[in-house]
């Protein structure tokens, strides 16, 4: 287990290294002055230029420049936004939590529903319920996220007015931003009607979370269906049947865990997909997250922001992947225990 964790950490550091190289080389690849791209100061004065040259070791080799850049990144200096001159790190502190909240909620919905539906489909393999679930998965997979978002808005916010179509919380609630995680902020704020605010925030996250969850959910349905079918076809299930165990017991004690073990890793992989959908949903639902911020930055040619956003998103995705891997190992005894001296 320790060895496994160390290996993952090694992989993490290696990926971060590659990522930093890419993001560093972007400042060379983007049009314009390298020092401007790195720092984000669009029209530096002469003094500023000299200062920045020293900071980023522009007079040394590329190699030194890279390490100077890494040093800045590690110290939390990702430059300032070319657009509004705010430090990128501060921007991210405000925007990233909202995205994480949305991602985690969507992932939660997708996992709960996707895996359950997939298992049900597998258990009733080739029955009508299986076919309905598969058809649903196919449709859900084919619907583009932006279109689904608009449809949801039309139906649930405009026609039925059940859920708000944009924002994270009603502005009437005066929640102070501390962590920028809206739910945590509500929890620690000193407003009177916390519960109401909480409900309101839930209603706000509902539509975007559904939008984001649909595609991964359909993927999870198919993953878990296949995996459960494999498990149900395995020898140990047959042997369990010969033991005379009931179907419910077989699925509960032997089916679910084995099927879960097989899919958890793949679910981690599909998280990257989810992140890309999140970016779209954030724009449509005016969700103040890093996705819409990043897309805005792209429109505004805010190169420093693009670099920073890239690093943040990639790291986040990778961390989730590692988390899925670790979960896989904890659930799977084959990975956990070595053979006895056989």
């Amino acid at each position: 287990m320790l060895y496994f964790t160390l290996r993952r950490l090694y992989l993490l550091s290696f990926t971060l290294l590659m990522l930093s190289i890419v993001s560093f080389s972007l400042s060379y690849l983007f049009p314009g002055d390298i020092i401007v791209n790195l720092s984000g100061i669009t029209n530096p004065t002469l003094e500023q230029r000299i200062e920045l040259n020293a900071l980023y070791k522009m007079d040394d080799s590329v190699f030194h420049q890279y390490f100077a850049y890494i040093k800045q990144v590690v110290n939390g200096n990702l430059g300032i936004s070319m657009f509004n001159n705010a430090p990128i790190v501060d921007e991210m502190n405000t925007y990233l939590p909202a995205t994480i909240e949305l991602c985690v909620t969507a992932l939660f919905i997708a996992t709960i529903f996707g895996v359950t539906l997939g298992f049900i489909a597998a258990i009733f393999h080739n029955k009508w319920i299986d076919k309905i679930i598969l058809a649903f998965a196919m449709i859900g997979y084919s619907i583009p996220a932006f279109w689904l978002a608009l449809i949801l808005i039309v139906i649930f916010s405009i026609l039925l007015s059940w859920f708000p179509s944009s924002g994270q919380i009603n502005l009437l609630f005066d929640v102070k931003e501390v962590t920028s995680f809206i739910f945590i902020d509500i929890w620690f704020s000193d407003i009177d009607d916390k519960w109401l605010a909480f409900q309101d925030a839930l209603r706000h996250i509902f539509l975007p979370a559904i939008t984001v969850a649909v595609t991964p959910m359909t993927i999870f349905i198919r993953l878990s269906r296949t995996s459960m079918l494999n498990v149900l076809d395995s020898n140990y299930i047959k042997a369990a049947r010969a033991k005379g165990l009931s179907n419910v017991k077989i699925i509960y004690h032997h089916g679910i865990r084995n099927a879960l073990v097989q899919i958890i890793r793949q679910m981690g992989m599909h998280f990257a997909h989810l992140v890309s959908v999140v970016m779209i949903a954030e724009v449509v639902f005016d969700w103040q997250g890093i996705g819409s911020w990043l897309i805005n930055s792209i429109f505004q040619r805010d190169y420093t922001a693009i670099q920073g956003g890239l690093i943040a998103m990639a790291t986040f995705t990778f961390l989730i992947n590692i988390f899925a891997d670790i979960l896989y190992v904890t659930l799977n005894p084959i990975e956990r225990y070595k053979r006895h001296g056989a």
Partner: protein
């Protein structure tokens, strides 16, 4: 009384193209306390036949039989769920590749306890849990595993194949079966381990009066343990009788060829002479000969063999052949 009496059991496999008669009217009668061997090459339908006894096959397979009696009870009259219930209550099965038959993510101890009958324990749940654990340990002792505490907390992949098979036997013993079906239990095992497993089965047979149906493709290897043998070829019944009858006076050309192809049994063999074999190989399922399926390979075959022979009984020695070797002895 016969424990199991099956007559003319046929199994059809429905594929998208057509229907294949995988097992063609095979009969099997088992007495209480009998150690029976079921022998056939791979592809002879013996495993499928055994699984059909359990009604374990899925929808692709259709099973039909003229008679299916279990302890005198006619199971064919009962709905299939009832049949399964009765059979799984009294019959246990162990398979080849024992490791794959154990759930990889659950401990051995749990899997044994799961097979135990709940009604045997009494008291509060913690008392029951303790009793279960003791029962599981006892079962492990019965199959000759002494380091029960390590074994109980292990996962299947941590044990050897032979140990897994012992665990499978322990699980099978949990419900005190009247019949244990062992489907090639020692495939892919070392010879010493094979012997140990056979010895274990044989001692269970003698001490507990448990009938055993041992399925194998190695006639010689199991003949030491069995009372009676049934031979199958390509899904058809070939011959059945006591082990001695089969070895001393094989009636069927197939059995005869099988025995003479084994160097140990054909005693007067000069050095470096060829072993007798039948020409050709076992037919594939898509191209089964009509009538007697041995036909194309059989040295005795005549025109008449295109109709499938009926089983004939000569003092408990059953054979299904038009031109058997019965008169040779």
């Amino acid at each position: 009384m016969n424990l199991l009496d099956v007559k003319n059991l046929s199994i059809r496999l429905t594929t998208s193209l057509d229907e294949i008669l995988v097992v063609d009217r095979v009969s099997l009668t088992l007495k209480e306390g009998e150690f029976r061997g079921l022998v056939g090459e791979s592809g002879s339908g013996k495993s499928i036949f055994a699984q059909a006894l359990f009604w374990l096959l899925d929808d692709k397979w259709t099973i039909s039989a003229d008679r299916f009696h279990w302890q005198g009870q006619d199971l064919l009259r009962l709905p299939i769920e009832e049949r399964k219930k009765i059979i799984t209550k009294d019959v246990a099965m162990i398979f080849q590749e024992p490791m794959s038959c154990l759930d990889p993510t659950t401990t051995i101890g749990y899997q044994i306890e799961e097979a135990l009958d709940d009604s045997e324990f009494s008291g509060f749940f913690w008392q029951r849990a303790k009793q279960r654990k003791q029962a599981a340990v006892k079962l492990l002792h019965k199959v000759g595993i002494k380091q029960h505490s390590i074994c109980i907390n292990s996962y299947p992949h941590q044990l050897t194949n032979a140990l897994c098979q012992r665990v499978m036997i322990a699980i099978a013993l949990a419900k005190r079966p009247k019949l244990l079906i062992a489907d090639e239990p020692t495939a892919a095992m070392e010879t010493t381990n094979q012997g140990q497993i056979f010895r274990l089965l044989s001692s269970l047979n003698q001490l507990k009066n448990m009938s055993i149906l041992l399925i194998s493709h190695e006639l010689e290897k199991i003949s030491h343990w069995t009372d009676r043998l049934t031979v199958m070829y390509s899904g058809q019944f070939v011959e059945a009788g006591t082990t001695e009858q089969i070895f001393k006076t094989p009636f069927h050309p197939y059995t005869k060829a099988l025995l003479s192809s084994s160097p140990k049994l054909s005693k007067h063999l000069a050095k470096k002479t060829r072993l007798e074999t039948l020409p050709g190989t076992i037919p594939v399922l898509q191209h089964l000969p009509i009538g007697c399926r041995l036909g194309p390979r059989c040295p005795n075959a005549q025109k008449h063999c295109v109709t499938a022979p009926q089983i004939r009984n000569f003092q408990g020695h059953l054979v299904s052949c038009h031109f058997s070797h019965r008169r040779d002895y």
